[in-house]
Symmetry: C2
Subunit: 251 residues, 2 copies
């Protein structure tokens, strides 16, 4: 039987759809021990140990003690590995259904937990920026998050806006924390020295705030932004406040 090649980009809606359909197909018996699960476990370890660039098909195969061509029995491409890794990380629960309390408090807990989850694998965080996250675990998290917001009485338009704004904020916060941060004491000192070494005529301001520029830590910045966004969304969006149900002012 001639089977059409799947031309869809890994991670796209079409690609996940095809994958969901294929999930029901009769599984071929595997004679070796190689499994998609084992591959992804090893891949995540590899990313944690050697960074995102360290994840190559050949090194992955070396870790699994198999020929690198064998990986292509289980996975179509390197890109696909990344997409599957992202969804795997999203397999952990974020919003425990047990914790009650007002929506704002639950949202805060969930968003902090989401950030923590991403920072368990700092090197992988840039992969969360590639396209929308549409895998089964990503969808489960999205379902839960939107349920929470909608359950608070927010209209669908505003709920979606709030959801997107907040998740994007969490992801980018983690990416900056993972790839931009100078967090060790020595890093900070080096950065301070750099700003202090600038010419006084050209950069008086940077010289004057050299210390402050390196004193802000990522957690603090996250909490500041989180409070700002939640305050604003709550004010503009939740009916309990001002009676405007489900529609924010158009700019």
């Amino acid at each position: 039987v001639a089977v059409a090649v799947d031309p869809a980009r890994p991670g796209s809606a079409a690609w996940w759809t095809r994958r969901r359909l294929d999930a029901g197909r009769p599984r071929r018996r595997r004679v070796d021990g190689l499994t998609l699960d084992r591959i992804l476990d090893a891949a995540l370890e590899l990313v944690d140990d050697e960074g995102l660039d360290g994840l190559t098909m050949r090194r992955l195969a070396a870790r699994l003690e198999c020929g690198h061509a064998s990986l292509y029995r289980h996975v179509a491409s390197h890109d696909e590995v990344l997409v599957l890794l992202v969804d795997r990380v999203l397999g952990a629960p974020i919003l425990a259904p047990s914790d009650r309390g007002d929506p704002r408090a639950r949202a805060e807990v969930a968003l902090r937990r989401y950030r923590g989850l991403l920072l368990e694998h700092p090197a992988l965080t840039p992969a969360f920026l590639e396209g929308q996250l549409l895998g089964p675990n990503a969808l489960a998290r999205r379902e839960e998050a939107l349920s929470l917001v909608l359950g608070a009485g927010v209209g669908p338009d505003d709920a979606v806006r709030a959801y997107l704004t907040l998740t994007h904020f969490v992801i980018s916060s983690a990416v900056f924390e993972a790839s931009g941060a100078a967090r060790t004491a020595e890093d900070r000192r080096e950065m301070e020295q750099y700003f202090s070494s600038l010419s006084a005529e050209e950069h008086p301001v940077l010289r004057s705030v050299a210390v402050e520029l390196n004193a802000v830590d990522g957690d603090e910045e996250f909490e500041l932004g989180l409070r700002a966004l939640l305050d604003h969304l709550e004010r503009g969006v939740v009916p309990a406040q001002a009676g405007t149900l489900g529609s924010s002012p158009k700019r």
Copy 2:
């Protein structure tokens, strides 16, 4: 004379310092027409045309009609090209010194302009996430931005916090816009169909907001977040409001 090799990571404080010192060195005469400027121009074109992955040393050389090894006369590595490209894009003015008005309005204009600048080269945006931006143009922009905030009477701690929060927001907004967005009508329809195709038991919420999930556009999301952050920073931070000068509540 034995010159110590520079082991610093491209883009780091040490690397830029070394570069600034080297700027005063006697220039070698170039016999061919190859120049760092020409290389970076071609590199930016290449990124625009073929994406960030399309920027390889070999293709860059092909565009410049020279051997790829020749590039290493002007540039130490592929990484270095990216770092220099980022600072080159930041060479454009963002905060025109001429436009007056209240700080809030000036900040809004500047942040929108910054976002617009990044989106002129959408494929390059992920490069703005690699470490702190410490090149001469980045520093000039930083100097201007911090002057604005400090000039509004904000204390150094809060000024730095506000500056970091806002620039990080702009950069991540551009990255999401550039790499995540499904903006064509067809993309939207495909995404809507994807959410609508989910099982009603598992994903009732996603099915119900399938349309709304793909109706939000990036500009709108940016304006929402911008307003939220500026409102909050203004309230917590500017003395004109409540008299708390230069210190925000610790969490």
